[in-house]
């Protein structure tokens, strides 16, 4: 079946053990205010323009006949600097597996593999399942843990390693900053904990929001002695918002 991805990154350093390639699945049910991959939020394809380097030649506004350009009223084949792109690509699971497996020799040499990230990869779980069935190498998933329990269970059974976020312990705070309550996430954490699967819990340290003593202590209480990594706030988090015509609204107090 077909899914939508928005990037494939070779040699991703922070997405699991060894030398890895990460594929990013498009679409996410959460709306974390600090999200640094805003192009992963919507399930649909989007126009992405690197406006910071745009010299305003206007060539992309000249009407064209490319079918794929029509929904955007912009030509994506015209920019002399390659700044106008459609973000999101539909691809067959089997074909994607083939592309990712191209470097299994390198994965094997370096105890690495493929990581599936997003967005929230579980949002396209059927596609994800077919992809995993076709990947013959070490696999990892990066997830917010926001999914139905049976889906979560089904997928983690098929991967070798899970990187799961617990961002905020407090139910209401979680809703306030990510758009959803954390009930499903915490339930799925219990499933993960008891699955016998190798995993790591990650918490992005957002100044004044998730990095508070209260939150970190509460998370520690939930996860016990699970492996836990705290990720530094990405100073460049807002950089892609203007490219999508979006606004990075969060006010980070440092």
């Amino acid at each position: 079946m077909t899914g939508t991805i928005f990037d494939i990154k070779e040699f991703s350093l922070h997405d699991g053990p060894g030398a890895r390639t990460t594929v990013f699945l498009k679409g996410c049910p959460l709306r974390c205010k600090w999200c640094h991959n805003p192009e992963g939020l919507k399930r649909e394809k989007q126009l992405m323009v690197k406006i910071a380097r745009c010299k305003g030649c206007g060539r992309c506004f000249t009407p064209c006949k490319h079918p794929k350009c029509q929904p955007y009223k912009r030509c994506v084949h015209a920019c002399p600097d390659g700044l106008v792109e459609i973000c999101g690509k539909e691809i067959e699971a089997k074909e994607l597996a083939k592309i990712l497996m191209k470097n299994t020799d390198i994965f094997k040499m370096n105890n690495g593999g493929v990581t599936i990230s997003g967005g929230e990869p579980l949002m396209q779980w059927e596609f994800l399942e077919e992809l995993l069935d076709n990947l013959d190498c070490h696999t990892a998933i990066e997830t917010s843990g926001y999914a139905e329990g049976d889906v979560f269970k089904r997928i983690i059974n098929k991967v070798d390693y899970v990187l799961m976020d617990i961002k905020l312990a407090d139910r209401d705070e979680h809703k306030k900053y990510t758009g959803v309550h954390n009930d499903k996430i915490l339930k799925n954490f219990e499933i993960l904990k008891n699955s016998g699967k190798e995993y790591i819990i990650r918490t992005p340290l957002i100044p004044g929001i998730t990095d508070t003593e209260n939150n970190l202590k509460a998370i520690e209480k939930i996860i016990g002695n699970s492996k836990w990594e705290k990720l530094k706030y990405n100073e460049m988090a807002g950089v892609k918002y203007p490219m999508l015509g979006m606004e990075y609204k969060i006010d980070i107090v440092r």
Binding site: P80, G82, N110
Partner: protein, 656 residues
């Protein structure tokens, strides 16, 4: 580290001791007499200065070296001879090992009259240094100078001090790009002996290495090549010895650590590796990469030695290879190769054939044959142009080599760089795909587009630039074009003898040619606009959209490097923020090992800080120590001409 001494050097306070001299040369003196006379006068003019806390002494106080020839005399010499660069034999790797071990007095016995006079001049200066040491109460320094370099070194400190004086003398003679060679191989025995008999602790030895490394940075600003920093003080660590045993040792580790701690641009570290090199060595190397100096540069013994043997180097000599100023592979002690004598521009070849032959070709095969012929023709032109090569005679250098460099070394091969391989391969891909396969662009249209810098047929620019397969993405179709280009380059040079009896070696380096050659032609069919440079060294085109490091490694391990082994690394650049923790350092080490294990020849990695570079252009005084890699050497960003600064920054727009 002695912070006070470090800051003193960093702030260039020692420059206050410097002066200039002028010399006159009797018209009747032969070149070698002039060189010897100048060396004697330079030594005499030098004033001993011993800095507080400094253990390895000798510093330049005369900043200029007066030319031995007038402009008219040079004109006459050049009318009769081919003169390479400044006329000196550069990029040699002297036999420091022997001179340190024997001492200059023993070397004097075998030297010719000019060599003897040069040694006497050096020793006279050493004597004055010793008097100065005694005068200021530095008996430790005086003791060392009593022994070396007149007599053979016996301790680690003596070996380092002897090296410093020999290296200093070579510079003072006017030679440049004097490389350090396999330092951990020839100095380790002194360290080992000192440690074994308890004469020194590891910590003390490390402090000496730091002091020693600092000495490479004291005068390097007076050794300017194309740009500040291009001074050729390359040090080679690790690799196999003549018998195939691993060299990497405690001293190698100390050197990597000292370089990381000092964060200075000299000495430039090259790490030799091979299929038996453990991952731990790569990890030590990657830690140094993280420091952002652009070192170490890796070279692969398995490929380089094989390639050198195929060119006629003996197995023993090939196994002892070192790296010249940038990346050229040379043989220490006995090799007198001129590893950077010329350069072929691949994009120029494509440009010529595009304009001359494309309209007459009915199939891509025919066009390829024209490219092949043009490469051969260009090689012939480059080779034919180099005859009656003449060098300024250097008596002190001659002492330090195991061959007579005036008549030629054991090896006298000429290295030819090859610039813009990716630009050329990508251009051929465009021609193949659109003109011959799809037939969507005519030869006339393509030529018009290129000649008008894509003002005409402007829709072709994004198509060629961003929507056509590029070298670096592990796409055989285009990578194989690069493989062919390099093969044809090697074919073009094969079998030709040079004027010193040696052969020609094809290489993958660019040196400054990535700018020079780029300006020789206008736009190119790959969508490169007029004035845009080629990639530095051997790398993907600057604007190519690249999948990532795995694809790059695979693309760049396809060529038959054993046939194009003059040197020139694949360059990978990472943003420095990627190196967040030890785990990332380990992963970078894995990537390097992968490149080597897959058959790559040479690799150079940069951890770059774009924000710092931008700020440094505005506030240079705040970024005095920001180091960037240029081609085969690293430099302080603020000391570069803006053209080079801009190019380094341009590379980052397309960072992996």
């Amino acid at each position: 580290m002695d912070k006070k001494l470090y800051d003193y050097i960093l702030n260039k306070e020692h420059h206050k001791f410097r002066k200039e001299i002028s010399l006159e040369f009797d018209k009747n003196m032969t070149p070698i007499e002039r060189m010897t006379y100048r060396f004697e006068e330079m030594c005499k003019a030098e004033r001993p200065v011993i800095l507080e806390g400094e253990k390895i002494v000798f510093i330049r106080t005369v900043k200029n070296i007066p030319d031995i020839f007038s402009e008219d005399e040079w004109k006459e010499i050049k009318s009769k001879h081919y003169i390479h660069e400044l006329g000196y034999m550069s990029n040699l790797s002297p036999n420091y090992e022997r001179v340190i071990k024997n001492g200059l007095l023993k070397e004097r016995e075998n030297a010719d009259e000019y060599g003897k006079r040069s040694i006497d001049a050096t020793l006279e200066l050493v004597g004055r240094y010793r008097e100065e040491a005694i005068r200021i109460g530095r008996t430790d320094v005086a003791e060392v100078l009593k022994k070396v370099p007149a007599y053979g070194a016996e301790t680690f400190r003596e070996a380092l001090q002897a090296f410093r004086i020999i290296h200093y003398s070579l510079w003072l003679e006017g030679n440049y790009h004097n490389t350090v060679g396999r330092f951990d191989k020839y100095v380790y025995p002194y360290l080992k002996a000192d440690l074994e008999r308890g004469a020194i602790t590891e910590d003390e030895a490390y402090d000496l290495i730091v002091d020693f490394f600092l000495s490479f940075n004291k005068d390097s600003d007076t050794y300017v090549g194309v740009q500040q920093g291009d001074n050729g003080q390359s040090m080679v660590l690790g690799g196999m010895d003549e018998n195939g045993n691993e060299v990497f040792n405690l001293l190698s580790k100390m050197c990597l650590k000292a370089s990381e701690e000092l964060k200075m641009i000299d000495p430039k570290i090259n790490l030799r590796v091979n299929k038996n090199t453990p991952i731990e060595v790569y990890e030590l190397g990657s830690r140094l990469t993280k420091a952002g100096l652009g070192f170490p540069q890796y070279s692969n013994d398995d490929i380089v030695i094989d390639g050198l043997k195929k060119l006629g180097y003996s197995e023993k000599d090939a196994r002892d290879y070192v790296v010249a100023a940038c990346w050229e592979f040379i043989i220490p002690k006995v090799g007198a190769d001129v590893a950077n004598i010329g350069a072929l521009s691949f994009p120029k070849v494509v440009d010529t054939v595009l304009h001359r032959d494309l309209k007459n070709c009915n199939a891509f095969d025919e066009f390829e044959n024209c490219i092949k012929d043009e490469i051969k023709k260009s090689c012939d032109e480059i080779c034919d142009n180099i005859k009656d090569l003449w060098f300024v005679p250097s008596p002190f250098m001659n002492i330090c080599m195991d061959c007579d460099i005036y008549t030629g070394g054991k090896y006298n091969n000429f290295g030819i760089h090859g610039s813009g391989v990716a630009t050329a391969a990508d251009s051929l891909e465009v021609i193949k795909k659109y003109v011959f396969e799809e037939k969507t662009v005519t030869a006339e249209e393509l030529i018009e587009a290129v000649d008008s810098d894509f003002e005409k047929h402007s829709e072709l620019l994004p198509k060629f630039r961003f929507e056509t397969p590029k070298m670096g993405n592990d796409i055989d179709e285009v990578d194989n074009l690069a493989v062919k280009l390099l093969d044809w380059f090697a074919d073009g040079l094969e079998g030709r003898k040079n004027c010193r009896g040696g052969v020609f070696r094809a290489g993958t380096g660019t040196a400054m040619y990535y700018l020079w050659h780029a300006n020789e032609i206008g736009a190119s069919p790959d969508g490169r606009r007029k004035g845009e440079p080629f990639g530095t060294n051997f790398s993907a085109s600057l604007f190519a959209k690249i999948n990532g490091p795995f694809s790059v490694v695979k693309s760049f391990t396809k060529p038959h490097y054993e046939r194009a082994i003059n040197g020139g690394p694949l360059t990978l650049e990472f943003h420095n923020s990627m190196f967040t923790d030890d785990d990332c350092v380990k992963k970078v080490a894995m990537l390097v090992k992968t490149f080597i294990d897959m058959g790559g020849h040479q690799l150079q990695l940069n951890a770059v800080n774009m924000e710092a570079m931008k700020d440094a252009q505005i506030n240079p005084e705040k970024h005095k120590q920001l180091v960037v890699r240029i081609w085969g050497w690293s430099a302080y960003f603020v000391e570069l001409d803006k053209e080079y600064q801009d190019h380094v920054m341009k590379r980052q727009e397309y960072i992996l």
